[in-house]
Every structure is written in C-alpha cells, then in structure tokens.
C-alpha cells in the first residue's frame, strides 16, 4: 500500500470508461504505428522501385573539351586528355566507399561506333546482369541476350537497319544475332545497339576499359552528396556527377509519404490526447471530494497531481503497448491490401516499443497535466464543499 495504490485502484473503478479510453488511445497508437511501419516499408520499396528507373550518379573519365572554330566554320567540340576508366578498378572503387550499402547497382558501359553497310551506328557494351535492374522500363520484343554473340537493338536503330528478333548482323567483323528489339523508350537507347560488354571490349581491343558507369544509389535519408564526395575521393581521375533531378524526384516521393504519415499521426495523436484531457477534466471534477479528503490528510498539491498523472500515464503506457503490437500486426494486413511491400516485412524493434510506450505515456500525462494541476490546487475546504 503506497501512493500508487490510489491511481491503480481508481483506474479500474469504472472499467467501462477506462476500457473505452484505453480503446480510443490504443486505436490511435495502432494507427500511428501501422502508418509508420507501412511508410517505412513502402519508402524502402519505393526507393528500390525508383532505382530501377535509372541511375542517379554518373561516373565518366575526366576530359577537357575544346570548341573548335576556324574561318567561320564550327568544327565541333573536341575531347582531349581523356583517360579511359578501368572497369575492374572503377567498379571496385565504387563498391568500396563508406556508404557502399546505399549503392544498389553499378552498370559499366563501353561505347564504340561501327558501320552496318555504309551507315554508322553506336554500339554500347553492357553487363546485362547489372544493366537490367536499372532499366526496368525496357520492354523487349523477343528476349534479352543469354549468349555473348546476341545483341539488343534500340527501336529506331532496328527500324533504320531493318532488324528483327532472330536476324543476324555483322558488327566489327563479327556476326551477332538480334535477340530482342526494344520498344521505344524516348531516350538514347532507341538509337543504339546493345551488346555484351566483354565482347565489345574484346572486339575493340579495349580490354577492361569502360566509357562511363551508371550508379544507382538508394536514397533513404539520401546522403547523395556524401556518396558523390566519397566516390570522388576514391576515383580522383573520374568525373562524378549526381543527377539531381532523379535524386530530388525520389526524395520528394519518399518525403511526401513521410510527411503524409507524420501529419495523419499528429492529427490522431492530438485527437486522442484531447480525449484524455477531457476525460481527466471530468474525472477531476467528479473527484473533488477525494482531492479535498487527500488534502485534508496532508497530501500536497504535488502528490495529488502525481496521482492524476499516474492514472493518465497508466492509460498511456498500456495504450502504447497494446497499440504498438496491434499496429505492428495491422501493418502486415495494410501492406498486403496495398500490395506494395513485395516481400518486405515491418520491423519489430523492442526499442521502438519502449519508445512508443514512453512517448504515449508522456503525451497522456501532458494532456492530463492541466486539469490535474487545476484540481490539485483547489483549497481543501472548497473541494469538500463542492459536493
């Protein structure tokens, strides 16, 4: 028997009211936890999906450009002092930065030109396993190459050279089979032929050489500038650019979801806290006699205030615990209904559970603080006369 006996007993004096209050707050916490879990999973899922729509960092050799004009004639831009990139070293360097966990794909490419008959065409050597994850928008007519002598033709290139899946074509003195023709993408891919990187390197005599690499970085709390800075440190001979539009688009999508979740959570929390505050106001008014009695027995304002706060805190901590577990469970259902998780699982974390209980307990105590302090401050005789 101590001071906690009073709030503990009172909490269950009116079980229906306590349970109703607990239910309302639990539902609030459940919604917040479920939304948070769903936003986390969807955020990760969205990042992975967004990463498949292209790279957000470009690694290319450092070069100097000279615009050549003479006699009023523009002779075009000339590149000089181009230091080709080593595929092995560059990929290894990118994969070894401190934030390497954020690197989801590294796709090296070697660009060369050749002719089909008299018509020039660009041939891009790629590693299919690295390329396809970041080019999910490629829709092939046919299937992607399974052998080194198979190529993919961009839509305009196929049209230009009359290529269809199953055709053979001679490139740089070697025969290739067209495995697929890409549907129009609206980008540079439409005008080129795509072949196996090692094959292109071998034919052109540029073993281990690449023209540039596309890097896809996951952007959860996207430290894209840090990733670029670390890559620059590792690759001083390379020019590294963040494609900020892509990054910003990804960040905006994820931030939108997070802001939405935060806003809804705040509304739920404020509503639930208001209910606790109102309930406590009514409880304080109902229990003025108890307050007067306790004060007449020498309980200070602080001790009476403590009793009411503990009552609110009990509701808050219980609601936090029940809400966390039910929200965790509800997030599975929500994700399956939304069909957005794709194998991702909500995260159960004991620290989150404790934090939730502490946070919700604090919110309920804060909501109860004003009516509790107001009630505790009433002069004992007035509290006793109130009934």
């Amino acid at each position: 028997m101590n001071i906690l006996t009073i709030p503990l007993r009172n909490t269950w004096r009116k079980p229906s009211r306590t349970l109703l209050l607990l239910l309302v707050f639990t539902l609030g916490v459940m919604s917040i936890v479920a939304l948070y879990q769903v936003s986390l999973v969807i955020g990760d899922s969205m990042e992975k999906k967004l990463s498949t729509y292209g790279a957000n960092i470009l690694v290319s050799p450092k070069n100097e450009t000279l615009s050549v004009r003479y006699g009023g004639l523009h002779l075009g831009d000339m590149l000089y002092e181009v230091q080709p990139l080593s595929e092995t070293d560059t990929v290894a360097a990118v994969r070894s930065i401190e934030l390497k966990d954020r690197i989801s794909a590294v796709a090296p490419k070697l660009v060369t030109t050749t002719r089909i008959g008299e018509t020039p065409v660009a041939v891009v050597g790629v590693r299919w396993d690295d390329e396809l994850p970041i080019k999910s928008y490629w829709v092939p007519e046919g299937s992607f190459p399974a052998a080194a002598d198979e190529i993919v033709a961009g839509s305009r290139a196929a049209e230009k050279f009359g290529l269809a899946p199953g055709d053979t074509v001679n490139l740089m003195g070697r025969s290739f089979t067209v495995a697929a023709v890409l549907n129009p993408t609206g980008g540079d891919d439409d005008d080129v032929l795509l072949a196996d990187l090692e094959t292109v390197q071998a034919i052109t005599g540029r073993a281990d050489e690449v023209s540039f690499l596309e890097v896809a970085a996951l952007c959860h709390g996207c430290p894209i500038d840090d990733i670029v800075a670390q890559m620059r440190d590792m690759l001083p001979g390379a020019d590294i650019k963040a494609l900020s539009n892509v990054v910003n688009q990804r960040m905006a999508s994820i931030h939108f979801v997070q802001r939405l979740v935060l806003s809804i959570s705040l509304v739920i929390l404020v509503t639930a806290a208001t209910m606790v505050g109102l309930s406590m106001l009514s409880a304080v008014n109902e229990r003025k006699k108890d307050i007067g009695l306790l004060r007449s027995l020498g309980y200070s304002k602080g001790r009476v205030f403590f009793i009411f706060c503990v009552e609110a805190g009990i509701i808050g901590i219980l609601a936090g615990m029940l809400g966390y577990f039910s929200g965790y469970g509800a997030s599975f259902k929500a994700l399956s209904l939304l069909a957005m998780a794709e194998g991702a699982r909500p995260l159960f974390d004991v620290n989150h559970l404790l934090l939730t209980c502490a946070a919700i307990g604090t919110v309920t105590v804060a909501a109860a603080a004003y009516p509790a302090w107001k009630g505790a401050g009433v002069e004992p005789s007035r509290a006793l006369m109130a009934l």
Binding site: M1, N2, L297, S300, S381
Partner: protein
C-alpha cells in the same frame, strides 16, 4: 494550544461580499472537548475549516504551538494536517475504491514507500477499536453510514493526532448509531485527544467540556 485571534472570513459571490466569520477569538487548551453549536449558516463549519487549516482566513491569527498558521506556507500546513490534525465529516468522506484498511492507512500512503507492517497492524488495531474487526478488506460501499464514520474515526486514530475536528459527525446517522459514534469520540477525548466538534444537536453538545454558540459569524 490552538488559539484563534480576531479571525475574519469573507465569501465573495457574484460581486457580493458576505462576512461569514466576524472577529472570532477562541482558545482551545490541550485535552479539551469543545463543541460549536448554532443554526445552519451561522458560520460554525467555516470556523471549523479555518481552525483545521482546510481554509485560510481573510484576517486574524491562528496560533498553534507558537506558530501562526495563517502565515504558514502550504508545505507546513500539509505536515500539520498529516501529523497533528484530523478531520471527520458529516458524510464520512472515504475513498470509495479503497478498502477499510486502505482508507485507514490513507495518511501513510503519501509516498512510493509502502506502509510498514507495523503501520498496517496499527491500522487494524484502530479498526478493531472502532468495532470493525474482520471488516478490513471491505469497500466503503458495503458499510452502513455508522460503520463508514467509524472508518473515518479509525483513520484519525491511526495518525495519533493531537486534535480531532469533527463536522456534524452524527449528522447523517440515525439516533442509535449517532450515540455510538459520540460515545467513541468522548472516550477518545477522555484518553487525551483534543476534540473540536460542530453540531446542532444540544444533546451531543452537552458531552463537551465547553460549548460556544455561533450566530451570524460571531459568538452569541
């Protein structure tokens, strides 16, 4: 021991002021049984509230063992209410969700430190003293009015208070039960407890050593 000097109390309501206590002076020596009688609205309950520190007066002095209670900070008054003063009310004022034993021990449940076994035993003894042995674990709702008042008296006893303030302690009880309560209070007074009781029943007032009559906020 407890001395009131020129105590004034004014109630304000909707701009109107009512002087409820008008220059009341009173001395209560240790061991006295004082009854305060008077009609409803004469100010006797207000005087009891002021004397027991449940209400601060608007003027005058209230001296207790050398201290002026009107100037004493809230913390000091809390200590006094906890240790020296006990109040029992007309409507018993028990905490309805605590058992008889817990209600008796309520003065000692002010902190996180649990009531000691010795205190629990003392509370049980007090309940036995007021005739409630074996009913320690019952809730107030299952008691009669007289029994509830006995729990309130047991609560006053357990503190070993110096002064018991009783506001119409038999007001809500039938005659027989009321007499039992009054006999108990008189017995406690004989054992040395100072009693200040408000009543409008002349029969019970006669049990006191001294009676003061109040009328319009002053002694008649």
């Amino acid at each position: 021991m407890l001395q009131a000097i020129n105590i004034n109390k004014i109630f304000k309501s909707e701009g109107a002021e009512t002087r409820v206590l008008n220059n009341i002076s009173l001395e209560i020596p240790p061991g006295e049984f004082l009854s305060i009688v008077g009609r409803s609205g004469s100010g006797k309950t207000t005087l009891l509230n002021v004397l027991s520190t449940l209400m601060r007066p608007d003027g005058g002095e209230l001296l207790y063992r050398g201290d002026d209670l009107t100037a004493m900070p809230e913390a000091g008054l809390n200590r006094l209410r906890h240790a020296d003063f006990s109040v029992i009310f007309q409507f018993h004022h028990l905490v309805p969700y605590l058992t008889a034993l817990e209600n008796t021990l309520l003065p000692f449940m002010r902190s996180l430190k649990p009531a000691s076994g010795e205190l629990v035993q003392r509370a049980k003894d007090c309940l036995e003293r007021v005739g409630l042995a074996g009913k320690e674990n019952r809730l107030p709702g299952s008691f009669s009015g007289g029994e509830q008042q006995r729990v309130a008296i047991a609560r006053a006893l357990v503190k070993s208070s110096r002064i018991l303030f009783a506001d119409e302690p038999t007001g809500s009880l039938d005659k027989k039960t009321g007499e039992g309560i009054m006999n108990l209070i008189a017995e406690l007074n004989r054992e040395g407890l100072t009693v200040v009781m408000v009543t409008h029943d002349p029969q019970y007032a006669e049990l006191a050593h001294r009676s003061v009559m109040m009328e319009d906020g002053a002694f008649a």
